[in-house]
């Protein structure tokens, strides 16, 4: 792949990434990437199909970390070209991913491209109001099931008690069962000690 011309690179990418409409991508092209190929990709990037552009950027997630560090400059250059792409999805994805080669994290402060900033901040601002308003929804993060009381409070604060739908006038049968089982347990332990 090292000495191919632009047209070959774009044909290769098209064959690899452009055939299905599904934008979920594995890392199938990653093993064939290197600095040279990435520079070629940067040059032919603007002329690729939207689908191919998106899948190419998304395949960066599958490049082993040490390679990402090695090709950081090349990857960032592609992302720079992609950020000013006329297709808004490509531009947005590139802005989200622009910090990925150097830090390994995604950029959540969308704002360097005007159109991206407008779309993203409109969405965030509208939803933020709703999120604040519906804060008692009670949908706790899944890890909360595991947390000791104090750890839980440190994560989500004190939770409201559940609605009291009735008064309990009699203990459920399971309370009697519990007492009975504990008695049996004590007997069993005594028997074990004796034997």
């Amino acid at each position: 792949m090292a000495n191919v011309r632009d047209s070959d690179t774009s044909l290769w990418l098209h064959n690899k990434l452009g055939v299905s409409n599904d934008s979920w991508t594995g890392g199938s092209i990653c093993s064939q990437l290197n600095g040279e190929v990435l520079r070629n990709i940067k040059d032919c990037f603007p002329d690729l199909q939207t689908q191919v552009k998106l899948k190419l950027l998304l395949s960066f997630f599958h490049i082993p970390r040490r390679n990402v560090e090695e090709w950081c400059v090349e990857l960032e250059e592609i992302l720079e070209v992609a950020q000013v792409d006329s297709e808004q999805w490509v531009s947005m994805l590139a802005e989200i991913m622009k910090t990925f080669p150097s830090t390994g994290s995604l950029n959540t402060e969308i704002g360097s491209i005007d159109e991206n900033r407008r779309i993203f901040s409109d969405l965030v601002n509208d939803l933020r109001k709703l999120v604040k308003k519906q804060n008692d929804l009670g949908m706790l993060p899944l890890e909360c099931h595991y947390l000791n009381k104090s750890a839980l409070v440190s994560v989500v604060g004190q939770q409201p008690a559940p609605t009291k739908h009735f008064t309990l006038k009699r203990k459920p049968k399971s309370a009697a069962l519990r007492a009975e089982l504990l008695q049996k347990s004590a007997d069993a332990q005594n028997n074990l000690k004796k034997s």
Binding site: N21, S23, W24, L54, L57, L58, F61, H62, R65, Q88, W89, L93, F100, T103, G104, S105, L106, T108, I110, I119, L123, L127, R128, L130, V131, K132, Q134, L137, G138, M139, P141, L142, E143, H145, Y146, L147, N148, S150, A151, L152, S154, V155, V156, P162, K164, H165, F166, T167, L168, K169, R170, P172, K173, S174, L177, R178, L181, K184, S185, A188
Partner: protein, 414 residues
Amino acid sequence: IKLISDAGYQGEITSISTAAQQIEVFSRVLKTSISGFLQNTEDWQGTVEECSKMVCHGQHTYVYSQVLLQVLSQEARGGFNMKRLSQEITRCAQQNHHDVTPITMALNGAAGYPQACQALTSMLSRNALNPADITVLFRNYSAADPPPIDLIRTPQFLELLVDSLFKPGVKLNPEHKPKYIYLLAYAASVCETAARKGQTRKTVNKEELKPTIQAIEKVHDICNINKGSTELIAELSILYQCIRFPVVSVGVIRWVESTVTEPSYFKLCTEQTPIHLALLDEVVTCHLLLHSKVLQLLIQLFESKQDELEILVQLEMKKMLLDRMVNILSRGCVVPVVKYIKQCWQQGDTDISLIRYFVTEVLEAIAPPYTPEFVNLFLPLVENEEITGTMRGDGENDPVSEFIVHCKAHFAAL
């Protein structure tokens, strides 16, 4: 499509692939869907499913939406609802066999901790733990300046740890086992307070780490050996004590689930209430947050085919399961339980004597004041002639009549 969307008719755009073509249209449809999740408490599973489908349409829509949810989950008020939505969507993507681990790790701040990040990524991508990566994490989290606790609080990782420690038949290398236990206990018990202004280091409070480790160890030892109920009964007080730790309870649920869903479990069981299910009562009593997990398991058992049991024995088993459901109900998980029983009745595939049994048990346990929501759900069951006809006396002194009279007097509108 953009014009339909511009005119505000997001609901009309039903095809996700059409909506996903333009980011602006997708953003609006996504907004409608997330708003739906935030406002619909009735059927949150339904709204989560719908939202996940849209987000997982493509990998680019997934990345975009998860960045959005990450930003929203930072909100001090209500942000954790968004974190949950994000987790549910992640889970859905994984069920569809998409490897989203690198995206998750690029959003949770793991990148600043390369060793921990790499170890976690390798295990989460394969959805399996291994001693080498666990050892790396153990070293990191027992060091003086450990990585942020959020990394190991990834739900998938916690599930894997619980599976390997509590699922019957899993054998861990004894040399590495303490590391698994340490990491699970660490995630469950350590409190991390973010660094205040002027301070560079976060504070890490490990006060409860040791007792949590001990509790996991004890119960792991009990669950790991396939004990008969006579041997188990001797361990009961230890189990009851340790169940107070939520993380142990999650493990006990996992263990009980695997044990009682064995095809021959109920056939071989001699007690009226098997000890495994009695343990679930204790979990329910101690932990509000685990109610829905336990209820899910009880429902699964209630609906399971037990063809090898005689009809009468099957009915007795179901009554025993209803006793467990009445217990959850009495501990505060009211609406989901009554809704489920009501659904059983409406579908007509549950023996009516079982519905009657449930109604009787509930009526004997409860007293006013009732909430309108509860009355709305429960009254139709109580009023139904087929269910309660034989339970009513001549006057108004039986529980059925008393409940109906009370509701009519206090909830005129119903």
